[in-house]
């Protein structure tokens, strides 16, 4: 092992000197590998981007117009400076990748997971465990209270809620972040229950998913023209910012409307109450506690860096299990008061 670590934390974010490249930088840099297109990972204004082929399709719609984006297939190794670089599916959203970096001379290997989930998800490539010496893992849900029920159970809950609403003339509204969660929810719906409408912010991302060959049920743009069809029996997928807007109110059916939030945070009642919604469904695009521990184990890593979420707690737990672990600071740490940090975690991470 050399004097400097293969991947280091700089003022711009994670940086690999051997490859001459940043990973998910939080400021515009020359060259950036982007694990996925969520706002807290994809910064506009970089010179060149590198992503997975499906990741590129989504990223092109999220960073600045005309951005130079290179794609490298999952499992293909490319040489960058003194490093060999390979992307593996992270199972978080369409095109999300883990980054494996191997030093060409020493053979030392690091894996940066980005956001990930270990459960299968029909709207994105399935997560693959990757072996390495040092693992940098996220920890959004890095506490043992977060254990997800089987997806099938949650999907059945969502559809049962929709069916009940539609029987009583209530429009169903699901608040889900426009990229990733919205498509996962759409993929979980039983289209036979009624018409499905989507907010304008969700439309372009659905197109990206279609371009990547992901099958989603038929949807209409929820607007003045389609309101009549959606009212009372339809389900509308919209970003949380649409809550309480006049746009949303026009879809109320004769029985009103019922709103729901779909997020891993909904596992905790207190978090459910933060949101002025009628229902909370626990469906997350992040690994739960057992998923995090399993990933650490399967990586075979000797050292584990923990970032983004309950990093302090997970790192301490892993240390007590005999692993060398440390906290990797994220962009927000120290800049905000506790209350806003929590909000940040609740909104950004599930974007």
């Amino acid at each position: 092992m050399g004097s400097a670590p293969l991947v280091e934390v700089t003022g711009d974010g994670l940086f690999c000197r051997a490859a001459g490249c940043h990973i998910d930088p939080w400021k515009p840099v020359e060259r950036a590998i982007v694990t996925h297109a969520h706002a807290d990972h994809a910064t506009p204004g970089c010179g060149r981007y590198l992503a997975s082929p499906t990741g590129k399709i989504v990223l092109a719609r999220r960073v600045h117009a005309g951005a130079a984006i290179d794609a490298v297939g999952f499992g293909e190794t490319i040489e960058m400076g003194d490093a060999r670089l390979t992307l593996f599916p992270a199972g978080h959203i369409l095109g999300s990748a883990q980054v494996r970096i191997e030093h060409a001379k020493t053979g030392e290997t690091w894996v940066i997971t980005g956001d990930y989930k270990t459960r299968p998800d029909p709207t994105c490539e399935a997560f693959e465990p990757v072996r390495c010496h040092t693992l940098l893992t996220e920890s959004t849900f890095g506490l043992p209270i977060y254990r997800w029920d089987p997806d099938e159970l949650v999907k059945a809950q969502i559809n049962a809620w929709w069916r009940e609403n539609s029987d009583e003339g209530r429009t169903s509204v699901v608040f889900a972040y426009a990229l990733g969660k919205a498509q996962r929810v759409l993929g979980a719906l039983e289209a036979s229950i009624g018409p499905i409408g989507v907010h304008g912010a969700v439309l372009p991302l659905n197109e990206a998913y279609a371009e990547a060959g992901i099958a989603l049920p038929e949807t209409v743009h929820a607007n003045k023209e389609t309101a009549g069809e959606l009212k009372g029996r339809g389900l509308i997928v919209a970003p949380p910012s649409a809550a309480g807007t006049p746009w949303l109110r026009r879809f109320a059916g004769p029985g009103g409307m019922s709103t729901a939030m779909v997020s891993g945070w909904m596992r905790v009642r207190g978090r459910r109450r933060w949101r002025p919604v009628d229902r909370g469904f626990v469906l997350s695009d992040h690994a739960d506690w057992p998923g995090l521990l399993e990933t650490v184990r399967e990586s075979g890593a000797e050292r584990v860096g923990v970032t983004h979420g309950s990093s302090r707690q997970l790192a301490r737990y892993l240390s007590e299990q005999g692993l060398e672990s440390f906290v990797v600071p994220t962009r927000y740490e120290g800049e905000l008061g506790t209350e806003r940090e929590e909000e940040q975690a609740g909104s950004e991470a599930e974007q």
Partner: protein, 554 residues
């Protein structure tokens, strides 16, 4: 245990009052008394005692889940509820849960726990956990923790039980007024059909006055000769009926709640009244021959008191009933007598009583509307809010009438401040400077429609910062923190529960406000803890103020 868990989970998941009531009715009408009585006791605040100490629970959960104690503490910090934290940490090895009836579960799994050694308690916990679903575990922890709270107002429980029993709300309220112990037999008695004892307690529906909006110069046209009206001060107190029947006295507030316990000195008036007497009036705190501000009355109302009336409970007996009507005398319903005749009986009754806590509402005298308007203008200095106008021939009607009926002219409240609206707190933001850190800047809403539209919503219409005492501000601050339902930057959305009387100087149309209306110099006149959010004003009330003002100018 299954049904109760489902009830608890469903009540917890909804914020809609109507939905909560429906759930309660469904539960109580289909649950055997052995179980229902336990649930009713919990819902009315008679909770089971703590059976297991927190450290024992903490140890057991750590052992069973393999999560170290420090991490259990970290989890608790995120969840904010210990019962829930444990339920989330334990393995989900029994999603179906137990079918055991609640009363048996409480007796055998909780009651039996109390005397055991710590070791045995841990073993018993593990054994019980292995048969419970996640939701049942949460309820189990609440039951053994001794602090079971369900987010349901007692009023709602009473209403649901009244529906189940098929009796009037007031009847059920009275039956439950002495508290409820978990006993199947008592539960069955509670749900019996109405009988004599209920009749003795029942108040009459309060007759309510309508807001008088006509300008002073239009009163001759609107109300006719002022001399056919009885004008009285409109006091800022609590409207109540004092009932003396079958040797017992009860004090009912307009919210259909029994407030006898808070006002022993008013209950003792009953001893000076004949059986079969019902007086209607305003409860006030009276000192140095004038009424005290509403806040002092509020303190009395808020006092937690035993259901048994205790004379001399308060340092000073200074509550009074300012009686303005008599609805029953000699056991006879007087509501179809004209006010003039009722008033004579009232004067006679008050004089015969001689109890200093019973005062007669004295009419004010004015031969012309101009003279009455002058008296009204000085009402504030007397501690009153304005005048009440009651036609000498008016009957004691039911509820609040929509329009004046020439054949049966009613009661009018002629309030001093024409611009006062009752509205609901919906958003709060922290103040700055001296008030930083406290939620002091509020946004208030009024209803989009009347109560006949169940889907009506609260429309934000004014912001206000001033008018509350420091103590009230701190109370509202605590409420905001505990009842936040959403956040937009620094603004918290809160559960629509607190009602305030908002005063303002002017009103006009505005494109910049969602309500389409802007008000000048809004401030909180009063925190209406006696009002429920559904009592708040509607957009129609604002429109009426607006057109009254526009009409006045034109």
């Amino acid at each position: 245990m299954k049904r109760f868990t489902d009830l608890y989970t469903a009540l917890d998941a909804t914020t809609r009052t109507g939905e909560k009531e429906r759930l309660l009715v469904e539960y109580f009408s289909s649950t055997p008394p052995e179980d229902a009585s336990i649930v009713l006791a919990i819902l009315t605040g008679n909770r089971p005692k703590r059976a297991v100490k927190t450290p024992v629970l903490r140890r057991a959960v750590s052992e069973m889940s393999g999560v170290p104690p420090w991490l259990v503490a970290e989890c608790y910090e995120q969840v904010g509820d210990f019962s829930e934290t444990i339920a989330l940490l334990l393995p989900d090895d029994c999603p179906a849960g137990t079918d055991e009836p609640l009363h048996r579960f409480v007796r055998e799994r909780i009651g039996a726990m109390a005397g055991l050694s710590e070791e045995t308690q841990v073993m018993a916990l593990r054994e019980t956990w292995s048969g419970l679903s996640r939701e049942q575990k949460l309820v189990f922890h609440k039951l053994i923790g001794g602090s079971f709270r369900v987010g349901v107002q007692k009023k709602l429980v009473v209403r649901a039980l009244a529906t189940v029993a098929g009796v009037e709300l007031a009847v059920m309220d009275h039956r439950l007024a002495g508290g409820f112990a978990p006993d199947a037999e008592a539960y069955e008695t509670l749900l019996r059909t109405e009988d004599e004892t209920d009749n003795a307690a029942r108040p009459y529906p309060f007759f309510l006055a309508h807001q008088l909006d006509a300008p002073e110069e239009g009163l001759d046209a609107a109300l006719g000769d002022p001399r056919v009206w009885i004008a009285e001060y409109k006091w800022d107190g609590v409207r109540a009926q004092l009932i003396r029947r079958a040797g017992q006295t009860l004090l009912w507030s307009r919210g259909e709640a029994i407030i006898s316990g808070q006002f022993p000195e008013l209950v003792s008036i009953g001893r000076s009244l004949d059986d079969g007497t019902v007086l209607d009036g305003e409860v006030l705190i009276w000192r140095d021959d004038s009424p005290r501000p509403f806040a002092e009355l509020q303190q009395r109302l808020n006092r937690k008191v035993a259901p048994v009336v205790q004379p001399g409970l308060f340092d000073r007996d200074e509550a009074v009933l300012v009686a303005f009507d008599i609805i029953e005398a000699g056991g006879e319903d007087l509501r179809s007598l004209p006010l003039q005749a009722r008033r004579e009986k009232l004067i006679e009754t008050v004089e015969r009583s001689g109890d200093p806590a019973l005062r007669l509402s004295e009419p004010v005298r004015g031969e012309t509307w101009e003279a009455l308007a002058k008296i009204r203008a000085g009402a504030r200095s007397r501690g009153a809010e304005g005048l009440m106008l009651k036609h000498r021939l008016s009957l004691y009607g039911v509820g609040r009438r929509k329009n004046p009926d020439p054949a049966d002219p009613g009661w009018w409240k002629w309030k001093l401040d024409p611009y006062s609206v009752e509205c609901v707190l919906i958003y709060a933001q922290a103040g700055s400077g001296r008030r930083s850190g406290l939620y002091t800047d509020y946004t208030f809403g009024v209803w989009s429609d009347g109560p006949e539209k169940p889907e009506r919503e609260l429309v934000p219409f004014a912001k206000a910062y001033s008018g509350l005492t420091q103590e009230e501000i701190e109370k509202v601050d605590r409420f905001v923190r505990a009842n936040t339902t959403g956040r937009m930057g620094p603004v918290r959305q809160v559960k629509p529960e607190l009602v305030f009387e908002l005063g303002f100087e002017g009103i006009g149309r505005s494109d910049r406000h969602r309500s389409g209306i802007a008000v000048r110099f809004p401030r909180m006149l009063r925190w209406r803890t006696d009002k429920k959010p559904e009592d708040a004003d509607t957009m129609a009330a604002l429109e009426a103020l607006l057109s009254a003002q526009d009409g006045g100018r034109a």
